[in-house]
Symmetry: T
């Protein structure tokens, strides 16, 4: 009833463009296979550099989702 | 043989009543879909407040379970 | 396309012999059920002691793996 | 409009009886002078000991509340 | 004289659009009631998800401001 | 004189029943062999699970006690 | 009654001379506007450097004070 | 041979405009004097406020680069 | 009865040879004076360097042991 | 032989005068009952405030000492 | 132009006398080889003990300095 | 004279074989360009995985070295 349980998964979204887009890419991909996504929390902002320029950005996130009643 | 491997999942148990009950609700729900649960560790105690009173308590936990031989 | 998403799982590898072997045992077991494993990161080195000697070593790890396009 | 701002205050609730009661005492007292309390998060559980017994328990908490439009 | 004292407040700015905008919304709101704001520091980037999309972003910040001579 | 020195010991109290009882059990046992216990601080809440139910709860604590003049 | 509630404020004391003086300057200033100050805890020791010499020292502190009954 | 060694430097990139631009400004400047930059990791997002508006943003980063064979 | 209490001691094991041996040396020495050692947890891996080579390795560990009934 | 083992104890030194003196008071008292003290590390700087002035300062420290061969 | 980049170096200043002097010794030495030093932040306060007395104090610091235009 | 100053650099040693070898490879490479290396501290143990097996191990370390008198 009122005592819902949530599960937290850890993902890394990436983007060649921006931190903002890496967050959105990761959540969009997660939402394709996880139902009832409820919140996210950024845990890490990293990236790879090639020839002195940012090649892609990696944003680590925890995403929480509600478990359906078993 | 003797080198078992464990997996750690992160869950959030909730309860309108107490921290204690939120822990138990979360583990009970997890045990319905995860076998061989072995330990838990509280990582966060939070809650929502409505009209100056606690509406429900959320307890974040890591739960460890043994993986069966593949 | 270029915006891959990764998932991070937390495991505990064990070994009666060494930290090194516990890391390898955990990753070997994980690779039997997870595809596209890409990196690991040690989060914890613990162990159990019996009669004054190390009985087995437990190494907590995060392992990252690429999600296939949904 | 949709971009609400919240403020987070740090309080310490106390109780001679239990962790649970210290949380509730702190939030009850905070709600007497802060409006729109929305969430809390436990940051610390401590206490004083006298003659080998717990005299009172202190629970540190962050409490978040919505700021009204200025 | 030269020994100024500062106070640090914790706020959460929000935005349906971006991390960048959530920072700016929070500081703008804080500056309506706090004088002499001097610096900010991001402590947390979170958000709520509805139907697989980010509904709003929450950026926790500490903001420092100079206290006037009492 | 006025410059008392304290020592901090780390203990783990356990209970099959509750977090609250695990705290009290640990402090009661510590007070049997340590004099002048003055404060405690919870550092960890964990537990073991057997057959999907909590078997016992373990609460890590630091306990501070005053050293007598040498 | 016996269940007092405390509030914790974060301040930064400064001094051109010493860490010790920055702590005292900050608490002295805080005590001019906050009643019932009870404890402090240093969270950060920083400073500005000009022409290779320390210009002023900044000590971040949390200060706790008892709330009066509402 | 195959055992490359990397060095990690800590920098602070700044921008009057955005977090995103502060990251890029810092890496661009670092790449002018450091060869073989390979990755970055954001460690801190701060900024200065003047007259209630963000004057400039400071993003602390660790940047890793491969050392050439000595 | 079932509510055992444990004590946690912090030690540093050393070895001129390896991290693995430093762990074993520390636990072997601890087991000579502490009974009922039950677990260990690595908290720090450090070492001294002389003339460009590792002279000895120091591994900080917490070791837990069961207290006998008082 | 060459593989010495160290033990780490946690103490709190106090002084009505200064952080510096609290460190020295704690180590002086510890050296009265612990032999072979080798290093210390400050973990916490706190204090009590009475009538708006610092009554005494408390400095938490870890102190390491060499264990004699058993 | 307005987007300055800073570099952060980590140093350890030492003194046989006081924490205060160890900070000043470290910054003075750093200023002999690093130009444009702008700020420091204490990260660690440690020391060595000989015959029960503090032999020298070590203060770990991060120091930030502005990079000149390349 | 007695107030030596140290500098701390952050490196990442790598090895296809073991954690132990990655530490030694990193320090050996560092000692080729840095004089007076005095200590190291492991900050991170990571690695890359290819086809389910560890390809190489990366050990992050801080290394401290004494600065010569300027």
């Amino acid at each position: 009833m009122s005592s819902r349980t949530y599960r937290v998964a850890e993902i890394v979204g990436t983007s060649p463009e921006s931190v903002e887009q890496a967050i959105r890419n990761g959540i969009e991909r997660a939402s394709q296979t996880i139902r009832h996504l409820d919140w996210f929390e950024v845990t890490e902002i990293r990236g790879h550099i090639t020839d002195g320029a940012i090649e892609h950005i990696q944003v680590g996130m925890k995403v929480g989702f509600r478990l359906e009643d078993a």
